[in-house]
Symmetry: C2
Subunit: 560 residues, 2 copies
Amino acid sequence: MHARRQTLAGLTLLLAASTAQAGDDITTLITEGTDTVPACATCHGETGLGSADVGAPMIAGMDAGFLAGALRGFAAGTRRGDTMSGIAPELSEAQIDALAAHFAALSPEKQDWPLPETDTPADVARGEAIFRNGAWDAGVPACASCHGQNGEGQNATFPRIAGQEPAYVMTRLEQLAEDPQPSDDSTVALMASVARKLTPEDRAALAAFVATLDPSAGHVTGYTAANLAWDVPKMKASPLADAIDWTAAQTAYEKQQKRINNPKVYTHTPPSVDKIPEGPEGEMIRFGRDIFINTQQLRGTYVGNDLACTNCHLNAGAKADAAPIWATTVDFPQYRSKNLHVNTLYERLAGCFTYSMNGTAPAPNSKVMVALETYMKWLATGIPSDAIVEPRGYIYLPVPEQKPDYARGEAVYEARCAACHGSDGAGVKNGDHVAFPPLWGENSFNWGAGMHDLEKAAGFIKHNMPLGNADLSDTDAWDVALYIDSHQRPQDPRWLGSVADTRRFFQRGSNTYGLTTPAGKMGDIGAPLPKPAGLSAAESVSPKLTDVARAQIAAEGAAN
Amino acid sequence: MHARRQTLAGLTLLLAASTAQAGDDITTLITEGTDTVPACATCHGETGLGSADVGAPMIAGMDAGFLAGALRGFAAGTRRGDTMSGIAPELSEAQIDALAAHFAALSPEKQDWPLPETDTPADVARGEAIFRNGAWDAGVPACASCHGQNGEGQNATFPRIAGQEPAYVMTRLEQLAEDPQPSDDSTVALMASVARKLTPEDRAALAAFVATLDPSAGHVTGYTAANLAWDVPKMKASPLADAIDWTAAQTAYEKQQKRINNPKVYTHTPPSVDKIPEGPEGEMIRFGRDIFINTQQLRGTYVGNDLACTNCHLNAGAKADAAPIWATTVDFPQYRSKNLHVNTLYERLAGCFTYSMNGTAPAPNSKVMVALETYMKWLATGIPSDAIVEPRGYIYLPVPEQKPDYARGEAVYEARCAACHGSDGAGVKNGDHVAFPPLWGENSFNWGAGMHDLEKAAGFIKHNMPLGNADLSDTDAWDVALYIDSHQRPQDPRWLGSVADTRRFFQRGSNTYGLTTPAGKMGDIGAPLPKPAGLSAAESVSPKLTDVARAQIAAEGAAN
């Protein structure tokens, strides 16, 4: 063994010497050539950047193993190349290694290559699509899968194609496609298989596109903190209005009318309750529906007030004009102006618990959340996933000429609402059992809930109240909505320390937050009360819009 | 004011005395009656349970305010009642209050009421549906909304209807429906409005159903810990097999064939990449797709190995025979045999991070998760939400007569796979940059990932590998799948302390976990390695199946 190791060491030395000698004469080979070998620079240029005139590829900075392999392939006749097939057999093994090492060490540079003439102009966009996404209908994977997302190439097997001279790329793809003999080299055979699936137009498109890539770029670099952070736009800071701004309500009505009158609207009928299937999914659907109705059974765990889902989403979320929940699994993830980012269905549901239920959302995989999502998925049965489903939310009313009035609202409320909801708005409760839901006060929805917007309240009332006999006029509905939403309720949990600052979350609808009504200055009740004992883990909403807003206020303060 | 208060106090005393006197004579009223007032017991019974013979309602235990109000209504002629309209005017105010208090204090009891004769038999199921869910097409809310989920009633306004005598219920609903004069009492007018929307058949159905409810039951009681706990069935404990059980693979193939050959199958074509919309949702779609391809940019945060989503879900999840992800937003929530409960899409995706990526799932509302879900929603564009979408997952192969062989698999691997994935299965990596994915070893998917099942690996390989030239025979695919999955990989994070115990998670597919292959005893590598530094919050999966299994093992140990 000892002797053998010495021999190997000697051989290594010998090879190193041989390479050094070859190195001495490759300068001549490259710049001047010999009797049998034309100068490499003639076609590839001294810097190895290639030439469009003769379709010579850019070899500067390519993998040395790949370059040496290509030369040996030309020499052996296993790689086709009109020019190189004649030259490579004249090179010694040492010259091949030295030339490969030499050009691999040079730096590639992006060239402004002219495109070869083709019958139709090369479709660069199609080339990019094939490069990045593949042409899977034809069985062509994305070039990027093997050659790298930037076309930077990979080891000796998968050459860099970024910035390559386009005539060369087209020729090479054509050679591979037309080669009648499958290569013994499995990766060459693979590339030939891919090339055969490309049309001549595809080849031109690819050649044109890869020419635009920067050959000096490496692989895709990592996501930065900025990539992974949410770029949430600023919520406007605004002075307190001294009166309700009715523009939002009117705009909401007009936009909804347009949506509803879209001829492409899909009108949904959810399956009937007796069609809930058996089995574990059926159990979850049933439980989700039960939670929707018997929500008070979650009081003290996830629910912090006296409401149930079905109080606003009548018929357990399956009534068309009472914010039906049947399209939620189709609609989400969805961008929401409420928090200026794309929300998953989970985040949307968490919002219901946080605001409408003044509580704390269950964890994403808790039985409660899974049951609610499973129930909603079942209600969606049959909706095409790209359907424009209407109606959604509450059906808005046009803002009347004669603006809503608190005193008129009070009279309507006493006559038509107080029997169930109480003159004090507290609903009816027997011990722990809520018989009728409170509309304001400490046990109702908080200021962050959608129902604090007057257009939502008026739309809900008009179409649904009194329950079973919804006969109020538009005017009555507006008046009573104003009356109800002119009373205090739990603070918005996004509380920023003052009503003026917190009001930035109230930009979307027409509402009274921050205004003074006969019942006081709305929202001026201090910080949110602590959650009831027993509430579980805090809602997980990222980004925390409150934090974003707080930072903005600090920045605005610093700028002033 | 002082004098007035005294007067009021005097009046109260007077009333109390009067009530006491009335109390003395109501016993006679109830049991014997007077010249002008027949005995209450004649129709309602001494115990107030009512009578089907004369259609007298069960008044025992009803709200005293309701009973007194009804008597005063009969007396004033504002409430119709053939019998009571004649009797009530004869009662003094004091007698009314005393009778109401007396019957309110008695206990109701469920009766086996006969149903009144109707043209068609009363449809009890329809009655229950209206009671619980309403007949919203006709504008009828659920009776339970006001009368309580158990029909127990609510205060003086909404009477108990549970267990009520059915002929009385039918008559009362008919009276309300046919009353030409709307009541001055808004809640009576409301009930009349509801009654008018019921057909005679509905009324009979409701009467028949509410008769079945227990009048002594209160409102719905709270969810118990058992309601909110997941009732996850036991995972079978099993002895280690001494050879692969191929039954699972063959069953999976046959089941999938049936699904694929279902004539109702929906074949999906996702939108092309250039159709991704602009705006914030479009940004999320693009970022989600980018994560799918450039998953390694999450290495060290959520990803613990060298894989990318698109390594298995080719074409960024949009290739039909490589586990397309286009139906995920339609398919979830879904029951999974992997963990024996209904999973949300979030939990499913969290599983990819935990097992296939050997990492830790991002939080539900993190930008990464939102982006992935938004991308998937976009891929689903156009799928009806109840479509049977096929193919899903990998396309299985039938289990061959000649069972797969490790040595043959090794030969195929070396010839066709090793160029990219390496003879050591470690893929190709340049510094931090993964060029080709590892198939086994510390940087590949862990034992909990789906791809450890041989039928999944064989199906994936047959239809997709080598990438761009998928020409392996079924036999070659099986052999190379067995070869790949006969090497060690990171431990299943559900590790229970021994291979024998952990094997209970490997019941679903045909696999080698716990078996001895030329590369050792599979899985016998001890506890999972700690996650790479920098990994964020632990995956949130509830219930923790590991905890369930651990408890089962403890229980089994105790039983033995």
